[in-house]
Subunit: 434 residues, 2 copies
């Protein structure tokens, strides 16, 4: 008999709502918790959605032919030749990931750390998450050797892992697994007969000088499902639209049938007006390409500046190569944090940052990390402005760090971190002014 | 270890897609399979959605404060005093129903017949549907005595039913359970400690002269969750928006926490621009009220005309009191159907109607009926016109039955049914011209 699933609120969305309550109560808050992108809708997309407001039919469960063709083209330009019949659209890539777990069945391998919802979704789907650590500096992909060992052990213990979820580029670490690791992942998945679900929602947010993120679909095309959406590159989280690309061949055909069946029973279709605007976005006309490039430059500039403040106090940080996320490790400050603040773990650190300083971050435990570590995730995507005018300025100015609101946020972050890193004695002598 | 869930495509959406393929192939089809409402978006709602196209933030998981307040007002005007904090919005009432099953946990009692997705969703949620027949002429609500017996037996057999789903007014039968039955349902649910999930998406589509459908929330307010949406009354299926009202008191608070947790992990939020338009709709300004009244009159007129054609050939039909659905029973024609067409059950009948006549209906088995019966469901909601101009005429003309496209569809239905009911000998003598 099914027990009520052990589900807790998504930590990112919960943190957002908590900070919003504090902001409304008049507190000064610095929101680094959720990865919601605080940028305006591109006017061309706004116009497309407005023009599609009369669309009220369900249309095909998998999404309109136009949207599927556009998404196939988008992937084709990124080295994944795609048949529109193998594209399935949903109200966000989040529900698609959940439905894929139901469609594949069995238990689910997730990297540690990884996005807050993979393991929670696996549990909601009745599966047990099998947690496998990532390699240093290569977040988002389980260490292939550890993956082999974990899946073999899980199967020996009666579990039934059938798919592995990966994130390229990675959330929470902002790093990108190497092609070599992906090749080894592909070999392991083939040997273990695992489906690879590759969440590539950040694939357009790789920093300048970096190559585009590699995809397991290149190394294991017969068994890799790729998902993406418009939430991150085009700041359209509130529009709820995502797409999945299933592998060509018999597995893909079987998965498509099961995925659309699950979709038909859980959500019917993605919102029709949004589908029309999304089709336009996936076609990547020049203004869309320009917006994504501007947003990427902004993320890179602000993330690197924020990273500097963490590095300045001695937190460890793998260089961030993509996304708007930092995943600093306060291990080198463990003694100071304990002495000055009584903080012994990431949850304590996040709580201190929120309650003493009004700074919202997420503890590494939200991403599946063990309790004792001192890693936190900080997202810079809410620092770009409180109004559309500010956000537009952030997108278009050549030096966004000089915009007063961005500068103020980054200065505040630096001051908070500085205060945090001082010893108790220092802090008593000089009351913090943060 | 979780097996892949036994999931099949939603029969309504599958039938829609199959008919659409035939239509594109140039065949003449009469689409009575799905309950999609073939009417245009009310211009005022179109404008609201267009004006909200710039909304791209997630906002609260449970939905915007404006939408929750508007939905609470809507329910308040229907005899359910509602706290906006107990309203949870989702991308359709379908995902809300699924998430409620996960939030309540345990197994799920469903009436037979009932909407195609309840039992399928229960299986996706890892639950076993416990099927309980309805009372004659009172579709949508399990016979309370049979409910007691079934739940007791299921528990004795190790199952764990914790909620019962009901539909008021009912899909597929177009009937409405009586207040007496609901009172008995409430008593049984209290004695058995079951949550009642009351799908009231058709509550605004009760025909003239009928009273509004009663709700179990009146008889068991402490344990009833009510769901609805804008799909049926305002023809906004493709917009994907639904709302749930949780009961006041400790159960409701617990359910709200679990439901929003599930929602945060599966879909995050309902599409933000749609939420804004939906808030306006739930406020029920005069043009919204006028649209619903016009649509209701149209459904009633066309459903009654179609019912006449089924009755004319001797099919049994409980008088339809709401919705756009008919649920005729061809049992009186069993011998003719077998002799003339080799048809022995509802699936055979639906197949014959689709393949020989191009008429799409759903067999009763799609609604959980046993295999041998001859009941089918026919929806009239796709007969109102192929273009927006035709659909607007259907909404506004005093006698929609005289509109050529509606008349042609109904005439064709009558001719098909007439041909179907004739004996093999008759049919050989006089080739059908349908």
């Amino acid at each position: 008999m099914p027990e009520p699933v052990p589900v807790t609120m998504s930590p990112t969305l919960a943190a957002d709502e908590a900070l919003e309550r504090r902001r409304r109560a008049g507190e000064q808050v610095l929101s680094l918790a959720s990865g919601e992108i605080g940028l305006p809708v591109l006017p061309a997309l706004r116009e497309r959605l407005a023009a599609a407001a009369g669309r009220n039919a369900y249309g095909p469960v998998a999404g309109s032919a136009e949207l599927r063709a556009a998404a196939a083209g988008y992937w084709g330009r990124r080295g994944h030749p795609a048949d529109p019949d193998l594209v399935v659209c949903g109200p966000g890539s989040k529900p698609l990931l959940f439905a894929l777990m139901l469609a594949v069945g069995g238990d689910v391998v997730v990297p540690v750390p990884s996005w807050v919802s993979y393991a929670a979704q696996a549990r909601l789907a009745g599966a047990r998450p099998v947690e496998v650590p990532t390699l240093p500096g290569e977040g988002g992909v389980p260490d292939p050797a550890a993956l082999r060992a974990a899946v073999t052990a899980a199967r020996a213990a009666g579990a039934d892992p059938r798919c592995v979820v990966v994130t390229l580029p990675d959330n929470p670490t902002g790093t990108i697994a190497t092609a070599r690791t992906l090749r080894r992942l592909a070999e392991a998945a083939r040997d273990l007969d695992l489906v690879i679900v590759s969440d590539e929602i950040y694939c357009d947010l790789v920093f300048e000088g970096g190559e585009s993120a590699p995809s397991p679909a290149v190394f294991a095309p017969e068994r890799t499902v790729v998902t993406t959406g418009l939430t991150k590159n085009l700041a359209l989280g509130g529009w709820r639209t995502g797409v999945a690309l299933l592998p060509a061949g018999p597995l893909g055909r079987r998965l498509r049938q099961r995925l659309t069946a699950v979709a038909s029973q859980i959500w019917s279709t993605a919102p029709a007006p949004v589908q029309e605007a999304a089709a336009y976005a996936f076609e990547e006309p020049p203004e869309v390409v320009g917006y994504v490039a501007a947003a990427l430059r902004l993320h890179e500039t602000v993330v690197r500046a924020a990273a500097g403040s963490f590095a300045a106090i001695g937190a460890e940080l793998t260089p961030v190569r993509a996304t708007c996320y930092l995943y600093p490790d306060f291990e080198p400050l463990r003694e100071q944090l304990l002495r000055a603040h009584g903080v012994a773990d990431a949850v304590g650190l996040a709580t201190l940052l929120a309650e003493r300083y009004g700074v919202g971050v997420l503890p590494g435990t939200a991403f599946g990390e063990a309790g004792g570590t001192l890693r936190i995730r900080a997202a810079t995507s809410r620092l770009y402005g409180a109004t559309e005018a500010e956000q537009n300025a952030a997108l278009t100015k050549s030096d966004p760090l000089r915009l007063p609101w961005i500068k103020a946020s980054l200065d505040r972050l630096a001051a908070v971190l500085d205060d945090l890193s001082r010893s108790a004695a220092d802090r008593d002598a000089t009351p913090a002014r943060v």
